[in-house]
Symmetry: C2
Subunit: 183 residues, 2 copies
DNA sequence: CTACACATGTAAACGGTTACATGATTAT
DNA sequence: ATAATCATGTAACCGTTTACATGTGTAG
């Protein structure tokens, strides 16, 4: 499976409802695995039925009751099993890259506009991830933090996401430059 | 759709059989969109039935007859339409990143082994892409080449792939370092 | 009174992966 | 002999996306 393990991993940061998980998948976790809210809700139910997570209802004042989940022992075991299995190669799928590949056969202006949009997205996601990383470090220096024995997993994963976004930004700017120079 | 446009874009590099396209999807194009050979064959048939590509049989001596394809006018139009449409966000899906996210809850030794493997893969893919880029430049300097009016699309796309692989390599090495330091 | 955040789903359609299937030629 | 490369598919299954569906509370 797939999303299953991303959800289990995300729940290591503490119990969460479907809605809250959705937000984790928007900030940080989404850099490693994206998912639509519907899929998250569906997966939580599947995981609960499989006994890998346990949910409890939390009534709230002025807001709908929510159900929050934590991994069970079996859930931790499943995550450990998954992590020990050999990883299959990463899948990249990006419309924009396909469009740029076809750059010489299609309208340049629209492509440039889309590259600008992507550049803006990457810039803001990089900034967001910077904040996430800062919060995780909680005042410490990076080297110091990573040398300590705290939870480094999310930090390393977000670092990768941050590198990716920055790289994307640089590449977009370069591609825009090249395409513009060609009129 | 999805793979459809990646195949059309790949066919801009010249007519190809399913088998040859499969190799393009391994070298270069795979960095933007990966696909199994079966899917490529299936997609070629679908595209032909839709009139977006045209195939012809090429008998060969000492080897099975192959069918090579080129985009039709309708195919070029479809590619142009696709490129002008707003791109949906890129999808990243990587088991290894999910595992690293869960690093504090799972076996470190296996994770380190997998990171080493991924590092080796990225190193060799980066080297492969360097050769592809060199071949595309065909002796010219990068700035010179990109300033010219030649086919820059594949070059820009492969550049992105190369950046990605190098970044992945650096990140893997850093993650290994951090996880090893924690014993 | 409009929009946004909270909160959660179902159902159908689509796209992609995995397992299975075949067979020739060339290089080691 | 054995493996690698060339060459092409089908069928079943799984995972993801899209469209549809509902309702409350809070902020501007």
């Amino acid at each position: 499976m797939a999303l299953r393990h991303a959800v289990l991993a995300a729940l290591l940061d503490g119990e969460a409802s479907g809605y809250e998980l959705g937000k984790r998948f928007d900030r940080g976790v989404g850099e490693l695995w994206n998912a639509r809210p519907q899929q998250v809700y569906a997966e939580l139910n599947t995981l609960e039925r499989s006994g890998l997570i346990r949910g409890r209802e939390v009534p709230q004042q002025g807001r709908p009751t929510k159900r929050v989940f934590v991994p069970t022992e079996a859930g931790y075991a499943e995550l450990a099993r998954f992590a020990a299995d050999s990883a299959r190669p990463a899948a990249h799928r990006d419309d924009l890259l396909v469009k740029v590949y076809a750059a010489d056969a299609v309208d340049a202006a629209s492509l440039i506009a889309q590259l600008r949009e992507r550049a803006a997205q990457s810039r803001s996601r990089a900034a967001m991830l910077d904040k996430v990383l800062e919060r995780l470090r909680d005042g410490a220096e990076e080297t110091e933090f990573l040398g300590g024995s705290s939870r480094v997993g999310p930090y390393l994963a977000c670092m990768r996401g941050r590198m990716f976004e920055q790289d994307t930004l640089h590449w977009c700017l370069r591609a825009i430059e090249v395409l513009e120079a060609r009129g």
